[in-house]
């Protein structure tokens, strides 16, 4: 009887040790980070709305890894080492992506071998220039200019320009406590846009807000924004 008991303990220990074996795969370790930029300037977008696809061939079912772009235009992904193709879907983001000879979205080959930082150059429809956001007398005042970058047949009109303020650092159409909008038709001069919004009461009280300007381009889902600015008042 005793022998059998020891045998069982032995078997148990054997099983426990067996389960300490490593898994088949290591976790992905390579960091792939960077920004989306136009001539070196990062493009600010809405949180969680803009993503690009990474495709890696040779592993069974073919499907894309989606990598989200943060509010300030940065991105980061944990990947396995290997060869990837990077592509933005059509109309993803407030910019155009280059097309290949067949008129499809072109892809960029990305080799990941250890961590890598890469800025992705895109062609925005518009850039917001010289934005200033200030607080005065219970209001947030904003000024900016718009530069139309794509002026050929692919160029698009402005649907509207909005000033958003929020109590947290996420500031966009769906996260705001107050907003002021100018419709595209009401814009007389792209070099002189002024907006102003009254700061509503905030509970619990705080003496700062986060603000930014977003430009909605006609027929494009995603807005282009200025960086989030924290403004004390």
């Amino acid at each position: 009887m005793k022998i059998r008991f020891y045998f069982m303990i032995g078997a148990l220990i054997a099983v426990l040790f067996a389960s300490c074996k490593k898994d088949n795969y290591d976790a992905p370790e390579a960091d792939f980070t960077g920004r989306i930029v136009y001539k070196g300037e990062p493009i600010s977008v809405q949180y969680g709305q803009v993503n690009f696809e990474l495709w890696q061939s040779g592993f069974g079912n073919y499907s894309a890894l989606n990598v989200n772009v943060s509010q300030d235009g940065t991105y980061s992904a944990k990947l396995f080492n290997g060869d990837y193709k990077l592509v933005f879907s059509p109309n993803q983001g407030p910019f155009l992506w280059k097309k290949n000879a067949a008129g499809r979205q072109d892809s960029i080959a990305v080799n990941i071998n250890g961590s890598k930082t890469m800025d992705i150059e895109v062609m925005p429809y518009y850039m917001i220039r010289g934005a200033t956001l200030t607080a005065a007398a219970g209001k947030i005042n904003a000024f900016c200019k718009l530069e139309k970058i794509i002026t050929n047949a692919d160029g698009k009109d402005i649907e509207n320009v909005s000033l958003y303020i929020n109590k947290t650092q996420f500031v966009d159409g769906s996260n705001n406590i107050a907003t002021q909008q100018i419709s595209g038709a009401a814009i007389a001069d792209l070099n002189n846009l002024n907006m102003s919004v009254t700061i509503p009461g905030i509970t619990p009280t705080q003496n700062y807000v986060f603000a930014r300007i977003g430009v909605k381009i006609a027929g494009v889902d995603d807005l282009i924004f200025t960086p989030v600015t924290k403004i004390g008042f």
């Binding site: 499907s63 894309a64 879907s89 109309n91 008129g103 159409g173 769906s174 889902d221």
Partner: protein
């Protein structure tokens, strides 16, 4: 002993007798669970059971069998804790409303197989066979219509495809047809079968001539408006998505002609049995006895397994036959869309022009003088269902502006009102209580499709109210819209008048008053909770304007000026809560005041992206067939 011998003898005899059967007799036994094809195709009753199965699989999206789907687009609030997420998701997934990989091509295959076998069969009478074939083609047209409005152009398969086990499946890989090709197929099929199908208004759960025409009218209208309101983002080079604007008028003409054929046929009419216009409008959906308005419906029957629980899920909580109900709360967004009887729009007058509350002596007074369809679609505070008045009020407001309320159905509290020491009910037995499921969290319950029959709210009985897919009022609105788009507002005004007359709007709109926004509005209020909202918004290309992701505030609902605008933002559900004003000695003591509120569970603003206009195609489909192209903007 003798007995045992007899028993043995009997057993032996019986087993010998059994073994005398021929082997072939034993091996060729017919299965008892299935019927062979040639046995079915000689008896019309057996074929009908097959057709019944094909009807049963007919696709619907928003239906009374899925109340929650009505809450996805801010027409209603989902007052059930498992469904709050519908108001907390920022955007719709690109795979939402996908209708491709849910076995739909298996369904198409079954339909094609049925048609093939019907054509081969010789034992049936020709008239029976032709009707069955026409019904299958009607259903197949309906399935392709459902696919094209969700996915754009899809592979058009009208024959039975079989794999030859050669190892090369490429001959089974079909590219996507053009969006117009699918619409044209649907329209031509319905044109072809309409003369074969019975022209009989009492046939309402099977295909008829009018059902084919109603579907044709709707499909052509969709194609026409996609052509007219399409934009360059929503096209593919191969035409799989997008319809050229030059085709718009041809489609509108077809839509109008099909609708007119039903109208001029004179066999259908608007339901007008009850002189009380609101009750009449509610009864239209529940009256199954010679209802002249219903063209094609999915029917249910008590004491079978074809019953549904829409009434159980949504009956007013205080008078419910089970301890549940009240899940689908119509939103203030919808309620305030119903016009005043003088054809003008107005938000619910909770405050006057200078921001002071308006005091009402009756709880229903704020809703007075509105389109009768409002009370026919929505159970308003103070109105009745099954002869019992709903008890919806949110609490007392004291003279100093503070609120006395409770957190459960009809809660009572003691000594909470100044000068009143007794215990007093502080909130309605139907709520509203924020965050309490089954209470009227928006201040309203749904009435359309609620079954007034006793027992319909019991789990053991349920309801046999049918789901109306096509009805005469929609045909009139289709005709009106098509005529308007063809530049004939006088005809449009004439058709729209009939629908509005029934709703109690006695002053007819003049042709000059018929605008695109009017047509959008009329469909919104007439066809609320009938599964039209998403498809209408998509085909008009309004969805990304209305569900634009910008959050809303109560200010958008108080003295709102753009209620009749087709592009009015509606991204979040709002509600309207009645309070009793408690101020003894004041002239307004115990009168009602109303407050616009946003339910606490509404945390995100809905965003419909350009890529949502056509649902994405699954990666498994794309991997399996290299000829399939992706939909735009995804």
């Amino acid at each position: 002993m003798k007995k045992i011998i007899y028993a043995f003898a009997a057993i032996a005899f019986l087993s010998f007798a059994q073994s005398c059967k021929k082997d072939s007799e034993f091996l060729d036994k017919q299965p008892t669970s299935t019927l062979p094809i040639d046995a079915v195709w000689k008896d019309p009753n057996l074929v009908l059971t097959v057709v019944g199965d094909l009807y049963d699989r007919y696709p619907d999206y928003q239906t009374i069998e899925a109340w929650w789907a009505f809450t996805d687009f801010d027409e209603g609030f989902a007052s059930a804790s498992g469904d709050y997420f519908r108001h907390q998701n920022l955007e719709y997934g690109y795979d939402a409303w996908r209708y491709w990989d849910m076995g739909v091509y298996g369904y198409i295959r079954d339909l094609n197989m049925f048609i093939k076998r019907g054509q081969e069969s010789t034992a049936l009478k020709a008239e029976d066979r032709d009707r069955f074939l026409a019904e299958a083609r009607f259903i197949r047209a309906g399935v392709y219509f459902e696919m094209v409005k969700r996915m754009g152009g899809v592979p058009l398969i009208t024959t039975v495809l079989d794999y030859d086990y050669s190892g090369d499946p490429s001959y089974l890989q079909f590219p996507r047809a053009k969006e117009t090709d699918i619409y044209d197929f649907v329209i031509s099929e319905l044109e072809a079968v309409k003369t074969i199908l019975p022209d009989n208004p009492t046939v309402q759960s099977r295909a008829t001539k009018a059902a084919a025409l109603a579907m044709e009218s709707r499909a052509a209208l969709y194609a026409g408006s996609i052509a007219k309101y399409s934009n360059s983002q929503l096209t593919l080079p191969g035409g799989e998505v997008g319809i050229s604007s030059g085709l718009a008028n041809a489609y509108f003409t077809k839509s109008l002609a099909a609708a007119k054929e039903i109208i001029d046929g004179g066999k259908y009419s608007l339901y007008k049995k009850n002189p009380n216009l609101s009750d009449n409008f509610a009864a239209l959906f529940t009256d199954k006895g010679s209802n002249p308005e219903v063209i094609f419906a999915k029917d249910f029957k008590l004491k079978t397994n074809k019953v549904h629980g829409f009434t159980i899920d949504n009956q007013p909580r205080s008078s419910a036959e089970e301890a549940q109900g009240g899940r689908l709360n119509p939103s203030l967004n919808l309620v305030q869309s119903f016009e005043k009887l003088d054809n003008t729009y107005a938000s619910m007058a909770s405050v006057d022009g200078s921001g002071n509350p308006v005091y009402y002596s009756g709880i229903t007074d704020i809703f007075a003088g509105r389109d009768a369809r409002l009370a026919g679609t929505v159970i308003l505070p103070g109105t009745q269902f099954k002869g019992k008045t709903v008890d919806i009020w949110a609490g007392y407001q004291l003279a100093d502006g503070s609120i006395v309320t409770g957190d459960n159905f009809g809660q009572t509290k003691t000594n909470v009102l100044p000068g009143n020491a007794g215990s007093v009910q502080v909130v309605g037995a139907d709520g509203p209580v924020d965050g309490l499921e089954f209470s009227a969290q928006s201040g309203f319950y749904v009435r359309k499709y609620l079954d007034p029959a006793t027992g319909s709210g019991q789990i053991g009985t349920r309801s046999e109210v049918w789901w109306i897919r096509y009805r005469y009022a929609e045909v009139l609105l289709n005709a009106a819209e098509a005529a308007f788009e063809l530049g004939d507002p006088a005809t449009a005004a004439n058709y729209i008048k009939q629908v509005r007359d029934r709703a109690g709007l006695t002053v007819a709109l003049t042709p000059a008053q018929i605008t695109f926004d009017r047509i959008v509005h009329e469909r919104k209020v007439e066809l609320a909770f009938e599964g039209h909202e998403l498809w209408d918004m998509k085909r008009w290309r309004l969805a990304d304007k209305v569900w634009n992701g910008n959050n809303m505030s109560a200010a958008d609902f108080i003295n709102a000026s753009n209620i009749g605008s087709a592009t009015r933002t509606s991204t979040q559900v709002f509600g309207l809560w009645p309070y009793k004003y408690y101020n003894p000695g004041n002239a307004n003591h115990l009168k009602y005041i109303f407050k616009v509120i946003k339910p606490g569970r509404v945390t995100a603003a809905h965003r419909f992206r350009i890529g949502n206009y056509y649902s994405s195609i699954g990666q498994d489909v794309l991997n399996g067939n290299p000829k399939i192209v992706r939909n735009p903007n995804q």
